[in-house]
Symmetry: D2
Subunit: 165 residues, 4 copies
Amino acid sequence: MINKAILVGNVGRDPEIRYFDNDQAVANFSLATTERSFKTRDGQEIPERTEWHNIVAWRGLAKLAENYIKKGTQLYIEGKIKTRSYDDANGVKKYATEIVADVIQLLGRKSDNDGSSTYPSQSGGQPASTSSAPRPPESNKVQNGPDKQPDFLSDDNGPEDDLPF
Amino acid sequence: MINKAILVGNVGRDPEIRYFDNDQAVANFSLATTERSFKTRDGQEIPERTEWHNIVAWRGLAKLAENYIKKGTQLYIEGKIKTRSYDDANGVKKYATEIVADVIQLLGRKSDNDGSSTYPSQSGGQPASTSSAPRPPESNKVQNGPDKQPDFLSDDNGPEDDLPF
Amino acid sequence: MINKAILVGNVGRDPEIRYFDNDQAVANFSLATTERSFKTRDGQEIPERTEWHNIVAWRGLAKLAENYIKKGTQLYIEGKIKTRSYDDANGVKKYATEIVADVIQLLGRKSDNDGSSTYPSQSGGQPASTSSAPRPPESNKVQNGPDKQPDFLSDDNGPEDDLPF
Amino acid sequence: MINKAILVGNVGRDPEIRYFDNDQAVANFSLATTERSFKTRDGQEIPERTEWHNIVAWRGLAKLAENYIKKGTQLYIEGKIKTRSYDDANGVKKYATEIVADVIQLLGRKSDNDGSSTYPSQSGGQPASTSSAPRPPESNKVQNGPDKQPDFLSDDNGPEDDLPF
DNA sequence: TTTT
DNA sequence: TTTT
């Protein structure tokens, strides 16, 4: 049924990208969502609290992460909440919950996302894409150069480029 | 950038389905989201208020609507908010805001939605899918019989079956 | 920043309710979101997959859970994703991710959720509310009887009835 | 039931703020969500398309708009979709759909939102707040100076400061 | 026009 | 552990 996470936050560290034999890519990174501190009505001080989310991005979103996401980047992420179990080094069963990204949108000005001067300062427009509309061809995606930043990408590549999971 | 509506409500009237020459289908129906009445702290009675949303569903979602959605059906809908202008019969320019559905999920028990054998097996409902997961082949979709109700459907059919809009 | 989960699924087991000295309540239960099985284009069968979410509901939402949520109930839940760490019986540090509910909406027909007279009239459910609209006075809430089911509730009780967390 | 819009986009013009006799404020502004252009698989070029949303923000969110939102500001907005009817100058009945904001989050770097040099460049943190958690006292909100930017605000002020609508 |  |  419906399993959706919607996050806006900042990336904690540069993404780790792995490639598989079948040329598929996956990116892992963490995203912080921070709640501001505040006082309750009775004067109690509630401190700021940061929640860290483990983000997993496959296929085109992994390439987006590789090219445009780094420590500190502000992102909108939409994805599915998934918990997987694994045995740690001591054979203890553990659980890890991850957000498997369906949509990633880079936020802030172009200058926030790339410090280079290759982004024409007069460009200004806000390109965008949608998760369900007809998808641009893969060839279009990977050709995206720095002057045509894919600041939004959805993960609807279909089965043909499916993955080892 | 991000343009998303998330609605849970009840269908006001049976959907209207139209077919185009290229075999594409579109369904239109209205969805009510009702806020309950309540009293403010100073005792003021705020009456119940119903908001009516114009829903547009294309392709497989139109067929889902045709086969499984009727007056009173409770739905979860995810879509995009779009406003279009048109000239009415008197040539006055008017605006209409619609929710173009990306995901429709039938809610409630099966007995609420169906339970009867009145759904023709050739009706061609489509199987559940998620917006980003690999999509089942079209051939699989049309083989879906009435005993395997597609209570969730997303609209990610891709460009090849795109539409006159 | 933004940390939001949106779920539609079925409750796995009757909620567990705990009361604290200060009369506050918390409910814990699990919610299943099931993705249907499907075939990829190359014929691979992807089996059905169920994700289990640990739901935590405080205050009025805990009472809603106590009175109206049971094994099998279909729910819409909106909440925050929170991960907490704890040491298990063997002193091993573990992590648990939970959805702390902000909004719970009972889905399906009334007959799915109730219809019976088994809900104690003194149970004190709370009326529907929205997270941002003016909130009904507390006195109104506790007068709610069983014949006026609060099928929607949001958790915006404010600081004065805050909690040991 | 559930009526939620989630938008990320850019403000089209400086907000208009109006104050009422009872000291309440409302802000109106438009927000653009732009879909990128793309090519369909059969080579058809789908042009970029911008959707304009009419945003209405009450109370504290109106003050946030007054102080921190201007033409070009990038925002995350969560709200309710509401359609109201009115008679235009010619007595023709018209409809206008608006997004009544519940949550507004300023996006991008601090320097994006305020060009002044009063924001210490070393500050860097991203304060935040949540829609359902206990709310900071009003006095805290209105004292927010430029060095403590309220880049996130939710509209849960309660009935006592309710409004002429 | 739905639903509660 | 739910539901379909």
